[in-house]
Symmetry: D2
């Protein structure tokens, strides 16, 4: 299973006055998705950080296909689209759990950096764990 | 002057535990930028909505070049990159006011829709006001 | 069981540069708590709204006892502290699931209002469902 | 002048699906208010932190009197309600700039702590600067 699924219930806090999830908040859902994908693979991001490896975003792209509404139950589908020598790209599809409709799709790209934000190679153990999860584009 | 500039002071609320502005929050800054660009051109977005015209995002793209830190004073530079028959694309450059360094660049694309989220043509008055502000890509 | 428990994992988005959950975000957790308490009692807040009943906050009080950190698993404990003729007061205790330590305690008070924000009496069915959940202060 | 005033324009990001500013977001406005009050008094909170002094919140109380709407221009009025040996209490009144109507009132209490969250006395220079700003309750 290379696609990780995480449920998320839309709260008032997530919505804006159009009654739908505010467009910036999907990047929060993306963060939740990739953190749990990694946890599912046995990698706690907090441990990575304690080892001095960080994954700041250098790129984010979102396509908003259909709005999510208050109290909707969403599924954040996350997978690894690419694993480079020193970077990783996650892909996301946020769907409505009841209708299975795709709401927002996107990608985020992250270099592996040390505490001084200098690029570092993907730690070998991490590469071993993540490589089987890479799911090439359809 | 086709590039609108808006100052923004980074608060604790904007930062994350890496000590920098959380990556989703730039989409909030982008919203502030395009709202004030339009206000500067004499168009209050709230009035547009009262006339039944909405500008939901269908696309957002961000490049994170350098982090913004707590209490930094930022300038959100916003311009219109394209004005289609029924859509508008804004471009943004968030810079550090003191160093003039570019921190995050991005674009957002918005269709003009009515209350039922059906596409509508750009209202003529609005087209007249916004057309002179279109700044073609360099 | 009059105390509802909801788990919540702290994400980067929730933290600030002190490395802990930003103080405003507990009000979001409180919202998640009371919504799920009501859902657990068979009342979907979205349905209440469709029937024209709203529960805006008129009061919120928070005591911050100990910080929550990134990736901590929290439990939001929520109960009904008081049910008046036309208002409801929820109480909350956010604890660290692993240490059981209490991190933030608080209350929020909400009048029942209609679409025009005019006070209305608690709908009888709702009163019937919520009354057994009231847990008087210790 | 012991009351600091800061303008704030309500964005989409600040609102929820009721069309008003989400109740948690006033704590963000309070943060902006107290930071600028201190800056106005010549104290940059970021400098305090660099000197190893932090002001986490231990208490927050809010009364929501009237909702703020999208695009409203607000004034965050902030003053010092009390300055203890090792703590400070700020008070806030968020008003609509056009109507002068008071929307939300509140207080937040903050101990002075060091990097290990241990209480410390208010630094003398800071006490000297802040004492004239204390405004006893009416």
């Amino acid at each position: 299973m290379t696609v990780h699924e995480l449920e998320f219930r839309v709260s008032y806090a997530d919505t804006d006055r159009m009654g739908v999830v505010y467009y910036a908040n999907y990047l929060i859902l993306f963060e939740r998705g990739r953190t749990e994908l990694m946890r599912g693979a046995g990698v706690r991001y907090r441990d990575l950080e304690e080892e001095g490896v960080f994954l700041p975003a250098v790129e984010a792209n979102l396509r908003y296909l259909s709005p999510a509404h208050y109290d909707d139950l969403l599924v954040i589908k996350t997978w690894i689209a690419a694993l480079g020598r020193a970077s990783i790209t996650f892909a996301y599809d946020v769907v409505n759990r009841d209708t299975a409709k795709s709401l927002v799709r996107g990608t985020t790209k992250h270099p592996f950096v040390n505490k001084s934000w200098k690029p570092v190679a993907v730690p070998p153990r991490l590469r071993g764990v993540l490589t089987p999860l890479v799911r090439p584009a359809a």
